[in-house]
Symmetry: C2
Subunit: 340 residues, 2 copies
Amino acid sequence: MSALSDVARAAQVSKATASRALSGNGYVSAETRDRVIAAAATLGYVAAGQAANQTRNVGVLIPHFSSWYFGEVLEGIESALVSSGYDLTLHRLDGDRPQRRRVLEHVVVRGRVDAVVAVGIELTPEEVDVLRSLGRPVAGIGGAIPAIPTLGIDDTAAAALATRHLLSLGHRHIVHLGADQAREPDFLVHARRLTGFRHEMDAAGLPADAVAVATATEPTIEGGYRAALSVLADPRSRPTAIMAGCDELAIGAIVAARQLGITVPAQLSVVGIDGHELAPMFGLTTLAQEPRAQGVSAVGIVLRMLHDADRDDSRRDDSGWAPHPVRLDVRSSTTAPPLP
Amino acid sequence: MSALSDVARAAQVSKATASRALSGNGYVSAETRDRVIAAAATLGYVAAGQAANQTRNVGVLIPHFSSWYFGEVLEGIESALVSSGYDLTLHRLDGDRPQRRRVLEHVVVRGRVDAVVAVGIELTPEEVDVLRSLGRPVAGIGGAIPAIPTLGIDDTAAAALATRHLLSLGHRHIVHLGADQAREPDFLVHARRLTGFRHEMDAAGLPADAVAVATATEPTIEGGYRAALSVLADPRSRPTAIMAGCDELAIGAIVAARQLGITVPAQLSVVGIDGHELAPMFGLTTLAQEPRAQGVSAVGIVLRMLHDADRDDSRRDDSGWAPHPVRLDVRSSTTAPPLP
DNA sequence: CTGAAAGCGCTTACAG
DNA sequence: CTGAAAGCGCTTACAG
């Protein structure tokens, strides 16, 4: 645990200057401040009274909280932390790289969290190293991060399973309805699900022109609705089934079909992924995962690492990737295709 | 701002003993510890390095984060805090009173937030006093809190306006579809909206049996769907319009109507309140509010109070209740009632 | 813009 | 179980 004096020595300034540089109070030249902050990051400096496992605060990095999946994960994390007596500090990280760097330096230099849970955020090896050097445990949710314990489902396998469900019912003309993830470069959930779909369609020996793909602008009910309206508009090219990249898109597709007078499932089967809370109401067949349980597990992992570190300093390595199971919930949105 | 020495004097112990009692390190008799903790709470003791406006952390008290409204408010708060360089610590408060007391004492004794924003949480005068005595500004969202600046819409007036919209179209048989708020005793949004509905129906001189009320178990799309199914099932008692207590309930009602083959708006008009993101897609006429903007404003208020306090210690009193405006967004879910 | 030095607030062996 | 005293880590007028 480095003290301010170590940082000052490394940056070749006085304790007074180091203090001003890190606190932001008083005058420091820009170059000096950068040098001090760099030294603090390298040494893993943590402000006084903020020793590891002292703040009883866990940082959560998350891209947004307005979708069902992220809301569920967050509630799982929150309930697990509360019952262990920890607070939750929220950091939203979007695609904005400089802002992301700032937030991470924050977490590091101010050192006000004991551990970090990254949800749907792919930390770089350097980012992971910084957190590690501070002795802050890290866990991820929603896709593997190298050298970090990560929770989530196998998206490729889940999409393949959803596709096989439709194929086994006899569907041959299936459209994959995915989402554009250009603005969320991390993890690429939808890209992996599309891969699973393509793989399964290939394996079924379907001709390339049977493998159609539509892309919504956003992975929301409205995004799915809009995209499905154009997929379903032309009766000549209309598929017999839609495999959606997530349940929001699938629900949007069902609403669009009803609006166009297309009966689900008699004229169109729809399958989704995630197990959204609205899936039962829309009779949506889906591959359900349990994001809330993943949040609880992630908290369990980081708190265990924290306590192990307290005891004997030989932190056990929980890193690795054991996918959570998915469950095929068959409801009324899928059936055999209509006779030609 | 009391220091450890003040607490020690008040509890009639040495600084050393006070330190041990508050940190939990070392031996202290149970009685002594209780006396010290009581003194710390009374004096509003805050640990060193945690002076007001030093932690750059704002606490958010919120009942849950999985509904659209709360998610939007939270995103507004988060974005406003990030751009001011503050962190956000999340505290979920449900109906559990002891847990609520614990969280508030936490925030107080550990003193790790500079300010508090309460969303959909009705703080008691005592709870407000505790926060005030620490010099922590507080703002509320979603209903007036005594002596605290609070943001939100006038729910009664909004419901009255929605009802007048239906009445002016010629509807006389209108059902109010609200939600049971027994599990969320704070603010009673749905109760106030029901009041606005009843008031307007009375003012229109409608007979008591024309003023029908249905109650969903939860203010969600699924809750509205289920409740609407039974409201709409019997063609003899079916209303010509539904006034929903929030947009989730209204959307559920539209889905239920479509499922029953009832055309919206030709056979049934539906109006909601809130301006949910899915309202355009369902063509829902609604009284829109802007929860995100309310979150941003609340942050502006507490940060301004914080900075004013820094400057001259004469904190200005922003308390009071100036309702945010609502906007009637007329879409395709409302029209004149069918001819008898 | 920076450093030497005073000093604040807390913790912690040590003595009892 | 408690207190007097040393001392750690940081901040902050002050001087330059």
